[in-house]
């Protein structure tokens, strides 16, 4: 079976064709670079995404945050629910890069500040 994908790793957005044998990836074509192949393999076995969102700090400031690595796609909604309940205390400092929540939902990913 073949599966058609759009690579989301860079703005080129290459159209990928993945040859599948059940759940197993046999081959990937259409990619311009190696990252496209890695993406196709991951997407067909364990699709992951980086989450970018905001949290409201103690003083009411809106702070951009993100997961520092991709998390399983099916956990995105659950992660969002947890993130929206965070209320970090990092006012008056440049928060950029600061860990706001460690190892969210045991994914190994931290929520870090992605704005100042």
């Amino acid at each position: 079976m073949n599966r058609e994908l759009t690579c989301i790793v860079c703005p080129m957005g290459c159209r990928l064709t993945v040859e599948l044998n059940g759940k197993e990836v046999v081959s990937v074509s259409g990619n311009t670079c190696k990252r496209g192949e890695d993406y196709a393999r991951s997407e067909c076995t364990n699709p992951v995404r980086v989450i970018t969102t905001t949290v409201r700090t103690k003083s009411g400031k809106i702070l951009p945050v993100k997961t520092d690595k991709p998390v399983p796609k099916e956990l995105m909604t659950e992660c969002m629910r947890l993130i929206n309940n965070l209320c970090p205390d990092c006012d008056g400092e440049i928060a950029m890069g600061k860990i706001i929540c460690e190892n969210i939902l045991n994914t190994g990913a931290n929520i870090i500040a992605a704005g100042k």
């Binding site: 994908l5 759009t6 690579c7 989301i8 790793v9 860079c10 703005p11 957005g13 159209r15 995404r49 980086v50 989450i51 970018t52 969102t53 905001t54 409201r56 809106i62 951009p64 993100k66 796609k73 995105m76 909604t77 969002m80 929206n84 950029m96 992605a114 704005g115 100042k116």
Partner: protein
């Protein structure tokens, strides 16, 4: 009147990168003027990732990208005035700036860089029949509400326009708990990047209706529903295809226009397609010593290219100020064939440097050869599996391939 060598208007990535490169190229007396309370421009509200892959080789959010540019800028003694709006520039490079702190002030500049970015097309520019209830926002305004003020404009959303901002907002509103019922695009293809269709719509099963538009708006105080219809090749709604979609919010993502009121006040004419100034390879406009870069010049999809263009403008402005600009000039007009919609620069005045010509196409074309022809002679070509209007491309014109007396450089699309 204050004298400053280089005044840069706008503190987005274009302005910030222009300032740093001008400094490194020898201009030391530089002032960046930004009307917002902070540097960063539109990137401050673009909290999604996807920035900086070319420039920093990592995937950054908009605020992270802006922060990197700002950190670089702050390494140098470059003056920055925030909360200050430029209200006028004159032909002889007098900049009028206004702030509550300093009042109205006139600055005589030796060179000016225009880096004012762009703004969204107002709704007035769209002719949608129906009532005018509350709940209709431009996608960028909604982005500002959600990402900078922490306020959700609504719960049931329809988005008109499939440019990147609309796609990004579809995902953003969904993640924050809203239901996005549809993204409608009047064209038969999306104006956004393929990756954004994948990760912003397909990930959340949000339907994208191509060749569809909003033909009616319902509701009196607050929007209650929209009618969406399919359109034919002439963009006329097809009877019998109407869908009635209940919603409390309609986001309009219908394109950006370079913010060029100041350029007009300086007497610069605008390119009818890009809606930005006409520039040469140094990003110098028709007025010597006035340069333009970033979204004010033409709408970019990647901040990386904005930064790069800022650097070109910054270095050129510094050379101009130091009297090092190339004066042995030629005058080659760059034209396009219509399939290639426009190119930047529009004019080439130096044949002794490599030139990166940016262009955008007017439709979706498969398996093409992009050809650069100087007075009938092919000097560069480039094979492309697919070109789409949503993705800016470039072709490099190598130095010394153009001759001083070349009149015209034509960029066109052939079948491969």
């Amino acid at each position: 009147m204050r004298n400053v060598d280089l005044v840069i208007i706008g503190g987005g990535p274009a302005g910030m990168c222009a300032a740093v490169s001008a400094y490194n190229a020898g201009a030391k007396d530089i002032l960046v003027i930004e009307r917002d309370s902070d540097l960063g421009g539109i990137l401050r509200q673009c909290i999604h990732n996807g920035f900086g892959l070319h420039r920093f080789k990592e995937e950054l959010t908009g605020p992270e990208y802006a922060y990197k540019c700002e950190t670089e800028l702050k390494k140098f003694p470059i003056d920055v005035w925030c909360n200050t709006i430029v209200t006028d520039i004159s032909k002889d490079k007098i900049v009028t700036a206004m702030s509550s702190e300093r009042g109205v002030e006139k600055i005589q500049a030796k060179a000016i860089i225009l880096a004012m970015g762009c703004r969204e097309r107002p709704r007035g520019a769209l002719n949608i029949p129906g009532t005018r209830p509350a709940g209709i926002f431009s996608a960028g305004t909604a982005q500002k509400y959600v990402n900078m003020m922490g306020y959700m404009p609504g719960k049931n959303v329809v988005i008109l326009g499939s440019g990147d901002i609309g796609l990004i907002m579809a995902r953003r509103m969904t993640l924050e708990g809203a239901k996005v019922h549809a993204v409608c695009e009047v064209m038969p293809y999306s104006g956004g990047l393929a990756r954004n269709i994948e990760q912003c719509l397909n990930d959340f099963d949000i339907p994208l209706y191509l060749s569809h538009t909003v033909t009616d708006i319902h509701g009196s105080d607050r929007i209650e529903a929209v009618t969406v219809s399919q359109v034919d090749e002439k963009m006329q709604p097809i009877k019998g295809t109407e869908m009635y979609i209940e919603c409390d919010t309609l986001l309009l993502s219908v394109g950006l226009i370079p913010e060029n009121e100041l350029s007009k006040s300086a007497g610069l004419t605008l390119d009818s397609i890009t809606r930005g100034c006409r520039v040469d390879q140094n990003r110098q406009t028709e007025i010597e010593g006035v340069f333009a870069c970033g979204n004010v010049l033409h709408v970019h999809d990647l901040a990386d290219f904005v930064s790069e263009e800022g650097e070109v403008a910054g270095e050129s402005a510094a050379k101009y100020i130091l009297g090092k600009a190339n004066t042995e000039k030629c005058n080659i007009n760059v034209s396009t064939d219509g399939k290639v919609r426009y190119s930047v620069p529009q004019k080439i005045t130096d044949t002794t440097v490599d030139i990166k010509l940016y262009y955008r196409v007017s439709g979706v074309f498969d398996n093409v050869m992009v050809v650069a022809e100087a007075d009938g002679e092919i000097i560069a070509k480039q094979k492309k599996a697919k070109v789409v209007p949503g993705e800016m491309q470039y072709i490099v014109i190598k130095k010394d391939t153009l001759k001083k007396d070349t009149k015209e450089l034509k960029i066109r699309i052939d079948k491969a």
